[in-house]
Symmetry: C2
Subunit: 192 residues, 2 copies
């Protein structure tokens, strides 16, 4: 794939347009034609950069992430975990909820989208989380066989996504910080 044709600013504009369309019409109704029209690009330009709609949407969602776990390396696992949530404000979580709604059941029913999300979003973050926890083992903060290590991603998922269902309001940075102190650090045997 050649990405040299677009400036970072232009790429960001395209991603913003894709996310806006995703919120407005949902994944199934989002077309490459609509993206091209909205951004005054040609479809040829879009297909030169992205293999198709699943990859374009996955990369737009990745672009939208305020912080990538791969960028976090504070020197302690406590502060690494805390840094994961520090930019999760309410406005941002509401936007994320709208995006998830836009993806809708396409996440489950569309194999290509599912694969693109795994490749572009989920697996890189899981690999970065794994690296974060392995650094903690090397530094002696966690035992290599700490049984909670394989489940940190599952706990974080619960923290982010359970609140709308359980408490009927979006997760925000305050709540997520409490969750990390109350749940994730103790599960790992780390004093807050």
């Amino acid at each position: 794939m050649r990405r040299t044709r677009l400036t970072p600013e232009r790429e960001a504009e395209l991603y913003e347009a894709v996310l806006a369309l995703l919120c407005e019409v949902g994944y199934d109704a989002l077309t490459m034609d609509a993206v091209a029209a909205r951004t005054h690009s040609s479809k040829a330009t879009l297909y030169r950069q992205w293999r198709g709609k699943p990859e374009l949407v996955a990369r737009a969602l990745r672009h939208n992430k305020p912080v990538s776990l791969a960028d976090i390396d504070t020197g302690t696992v406590r502060d690494d975990l805390r840094a994961m949530v520090c930019r999760a404000d309410t406005e941002r979580m509401e936007k994320d909820t709208a995006l998830m709604r836009g993806l809708g059941h396409a996440v489950h029913s569309n194999q290509d989208l599912h694969r693109a999300l795994r490749e572009v979003l989920i697996e890189p973050e899981l690999a970065a989380l794994d690296a974060m926890l392995r650094r903690a083992v090397v530094r002696g903060e966690l035992a290599a066989d700490n049984p909670a290590i394989p489940y940190v991603a599952h706990m974080m998922f619960g923290g982010f996504f359970a609140r709308p269902l359980i408490e009927d309001r979006p997760a925000d940075a305050d709540y997520l910080s409490h969750y990390i102190e109350a749940v994730i650090l103790p599960a790992l045997g780390l004093d807050p």
Copy 2:
């Protein structure tokens, strides 16, 4: 609401038909007419029992749950938590995943369905979980101010729903048992 008209067997038949339709056509396309036709009932019968589609679907989903938290009271919080997952076999989790897919984005976009699910499914289970944890406090197994208590539901949610996304396979009883031992008991400060 008068529920005396239906035998428990007949009620179960109706719920099974609703769940089958939910998997086949999804929530939006599921109609009271289709439920009536599939079960050889009159729509009047359905409306005598349930206020409408949201309540019928929510009650069918509740009927489908293998175990209600309100029925669990083993005498220790460890075994209460373990009992929550003992009937979660792979076949069952796959059925649940198909049902969730059937609900699709209607869960988010349809206020009446959202309300019915909260009233019929979510709030009773949260109340039962709360009662379970309060019994543990009364028995002295947990301190009343244990900071993880408010988040047990969030952790369980992560255990149930994160695995398909993170590991690309459904949660099953074995996995959930490990999760409880590795994460939930330590977060609550309970030795496994």
